[in-house]
Subunit: 196 residues, 2 copies
Amino acid sequence: MPERKPRKDAVRNRTAVLAAADALFARCESPEDVTMADVAAAAGVGKGTLFRAFGDRTGLIRALYEARLEPIMDAVEAGPPPLGPATPPLQRVPALLDALLCFKLDNRPLALALEGTAGGSPYQAGHYERWHGLLRGVLERIPEPADGDFTAHALLAAVRADLVEHLAGREGVPRERMRARLADFTARVLGSPATD
Amino acid sequence: MPERKPRKDAVRNRTAVLAAADALFARCESPEDVTMADVAAAAGVGKGTLFRAFGDRTGLIRALYEARLEPIMDAVEAGPPPLGPATPPLQRVPALLDALLCFKLDNRPLALALEGTAGGSPYQAGHYERWHGLLRGVLERIPEPADGDFTAHALLAAVRADLVEHLAGREGVPRERMRARLADFTARVLGSPATD
DNA sequence: GCACGATACGGACCCGGGGTCCGCATTGCA
DNA sequence: TGCAATGCGGACCCCGGGTCCGTATCGTGC
């Protein structure tokens, strides 16, 4: 498996496509009105190129998403508190959720596209597995919630892209308010009385 | 607006389509491999008829969903405790969520279809508004959760069709266990220590 | 610098599914 | 029984994801 190095034009095209797609998704109302042909055209590339580079639509979106998410994942896996692994669980859980929420607020169309495209649900998206595993692990280091597995699922559900979109986009809930609400909710789930 | 009564064959066809679609959705792996043409064929009807009766795919699914949901809605709006309006909020919230969970467990493909089809998210589905308004109203009658609006969203997110599908279908979590987990989670959100 | 195999390009093409249209059949009222 | 009005059906259109292959580009050995 010699992992032969790709041709120069191939990588150039790849990055061009990534950039074009990023721009298109950022400027769109709904992710499904960014078509593959659009992306190809915007990148000055043929559809074939696009599909060869990313396999299919999901692959493209995943690549974009991963690129954007990378810094956060780094911070989570090896960064300083409150995201990094050295953080005590009771602070880390809300920090993780807040980071996820902010990420989705900052990348609404992309997150929406990923969660809406990957086979109809985000639960086979790979990312989800990682986040869920992570959260679950942290939750299990505190005694309170009996079942870390389900709790992790339920907490992650509270920051799903379309809910975020609904609140932030449709209803115009301001960012800080959403963060506060989520923090509140998380605190309540963790058992510590927050506001009262 | 005289509300002219429909012809007899029209209503016959409508019910035939409903029945056929119901059967098809019940017997399918994923809702997107039930095609409109399939439904029409199974009902012994032309596509035109189908679209005339229901407008579009979403309309069909909504009609099916509503039919299935009706008994529960009745029980919620005018039934006895623990679902009916006479129930004290602290018991009614978990009862509502449990009912919703059970409903989605019993109608997995349908729920999946509805939440996955309606414009890419369930949040403009109409049903959602109702459930959310209801839950929010009940939540606001208890002092604990500061923001009933967000709390309602977050709790409803925990019983989303694709999460239910993921857990019950993919991971084979048994029904009673899911109900218990959800009850636990709900209790924790409501501030009352449940298991410990 | 050249020639030639390997690699990538691109856009015409295919396919499948949602949705439409209109000539024809059924209905139901006088 | 006759005649609108209403509904039927399936051929048809559109559009988007995905494929294919003749052609252009790359890059390596000489």
